[in-house]
């Protein structure tokens, strides 16, 4: 706890709320995230997980609360008081966003190499050879055959697309990744490889991540801490093992006991 207090958090979320008309989608969510830490957000469909993620990632403006991010060499800054240009720059350099459906995060008709290189080109990289080299390197790191650098993601399998999406986001060495159900469209063996890869990458790159998932196994494997949501409220939070092995809230107990073990 002392270490945590001496280092400022990477991300500080306070009292985030969002309502759609009369319906409260998210109510008073608060947490801190430290560099290199993976936080899982679990809960059933419609519990506000994705709303929370979109609000923090500034893809959707919340009605209440604040989100502060540790800007490189600038201390904690409220992301909603930044200009749109600053926020977008942050989103494509220091952040990554992995969509559940890879087609939402990739350019499906553009080659894998250009997909990986796009962020670098956006930052002003104007050397084709270097772009290609870093694209090849990243494909290798996410276990895609570099021979396929000129193939469009349309020709890739689901698992490869998801890994390509991750490579595309990691190429600028971000410090924070948002992941929305990154494994839910994949079959079990592909899921396992992807989780393994994510674990390895988050550790190597000191990458902090917020992973939204309904799969407790994903949370168990990836996350250091977790947040349980129900009806737009955070009902329980704590270390992953602690929450999963000794759930306190009735809903968490239900969730944990609902997992099928073969």
């Amino acid at each position: 706890m002392n270490a945590a207090l001496s280092h400022p958090p990477l991300l500080r979320v306070r009292g985030i709320g969002k309502r759609y008309g009369d319906r409260v989608a998210l109510h008073d969510a608060s947490f801190d995230l430290w560099p290199g830490e993976v936080l899982a957000v679990v809960g059933e469909s419609g519990s506000g997980k994705s709303t929370l993620l979109n609000a923090i990632a500034a893809r959707d403006k919340p009605d209440a609360g604040s989100v502060e991010f540790q800007v490189r060499g600038g201390g904690l800054q409220d992301i909603f008081s930044m200009t749109e240009a600053q926020r977008r720059l942050l989103a494509r350099t220091d952040w990554g966003f992995v969509h559940q459906n890879p087609a939402d995060g990739l350019r499906m008709d553009v080659s894998a190499g250009a997909n990986v290189g796009e962020r670098l080109m956006g930052l002003g990289e104007r050397h084709y050879g270097r772009l290609r080299a870093s694209a090849a390197e990243w494909l290798q790191r996410v276990e895609i055959d570099p021979q396929r650098i000129d193939d469009a993601p349309r020709t890739f399998s689901g698992g490869m697309r998801q890994r390509l999406q991750i490579a595309r986001n990691l190429v600028t060495q971000p410090r924070l990744m948002f992941m929305d159900e990154p494994t839910s469209g994949l079959d079990v063996s592909v899921q396992a490889r992807l989780l393994d890869l994510l674990r390895q990458l988050t550790r190597q790159m000191q990458l902090a991540a917020i992973v939204v998932t309904h799969d407790l196994a994903v949370a168990r494997l990836l996350a250091h801490r977790m947040v349980v949501m129900q009806h737009g409220r955070v009902v329980e939070s704590g270390l992953t093992d602690q929450v999963l092995d000794d759930p306190q809230h009735a809903y968490t107990q239900l969730l944990v006991s609902s997992v099928l073990t073969p």
């Binding site: 080659s111 670098l120 104007r126 084709y128």
Partner: protein, 294 residues
Amino acid sequence: MTTTTAISYNFAYLDERTKRMIRRAILKAVAIPGYQVPFGSREMPLPYGWGTGGIQVTAAVIGPKDVLKVIDQGSDDTVNAVNIRRFFQRTTGVETTTRTTEATLIQMRHRIPEAPLAEGQVLVYQVPVPEPMQRLEPRETTTRVLHALAEYGLMHVKLYEDIARYGHIATTYDYPVLVNGRYVMSPSPIPKFDNPKLDMNPALQLFGAGREKRIYALPPYTPVESLSFDDHPFEVQRWDEPCALCGATDSFLDEIITDDRGSRMHVCSDSDYCQSRQQAPAGQAAASEEQAIA
């Protein structure tokens, strides 16, 4: 050259209020080089794709003392050029010419004349697709934001794809440019051979897209840079042979098939340039040729 017709149109066909509206758009476009200004494009007596944008811009800026030249793919005597020239002859009675140097106003489709342009001349381009990022990003709301924030990584994705697929930048026309270090602009489907002529041109260049309802402009002496990679710099097309008619080695050549046995020749696409070189005294043409070869 004045023609009188039974039905009398307003000068240059459009009514005065419409012309004022278009002139306002042009003024804004000139003030922000490369920025696409929306305007209330009118229905014109020719179909979209035939130069409705260019015609409206010409109609808004033409005056009774102007000398008009209209070219289509470099040529003064193809259908599009002949019809638009006759349209303005009938509705304005201005003098027309085929000589680039004599014209004060030149409406063009897909080529810039070879002869150097001068201060005081106005070039009007016909533009089918004003948005350079349209093929990569179909949502206009998004491309507007990208322009506003000068996020142009997407344009290089297109060039990257070219190199990855063909080994070089294979875009040969409508080659995207960066205007005044700020806006990325489509130069209309001119061959990239003409791109260097956009840069620091002493003439005023106006671009009109009728269907897409956009006008943009390059004021005289605006820096215009063709996008490229450091290790794949911008290059224009080259030909191995000179023009078969006038011997020019410095102009854009069209390949013309002359019979059905595969014979072909390369001739200047700019018909005025080619003819004036052929008509020039032999010594002069030869001299300029030697100069070009040297």
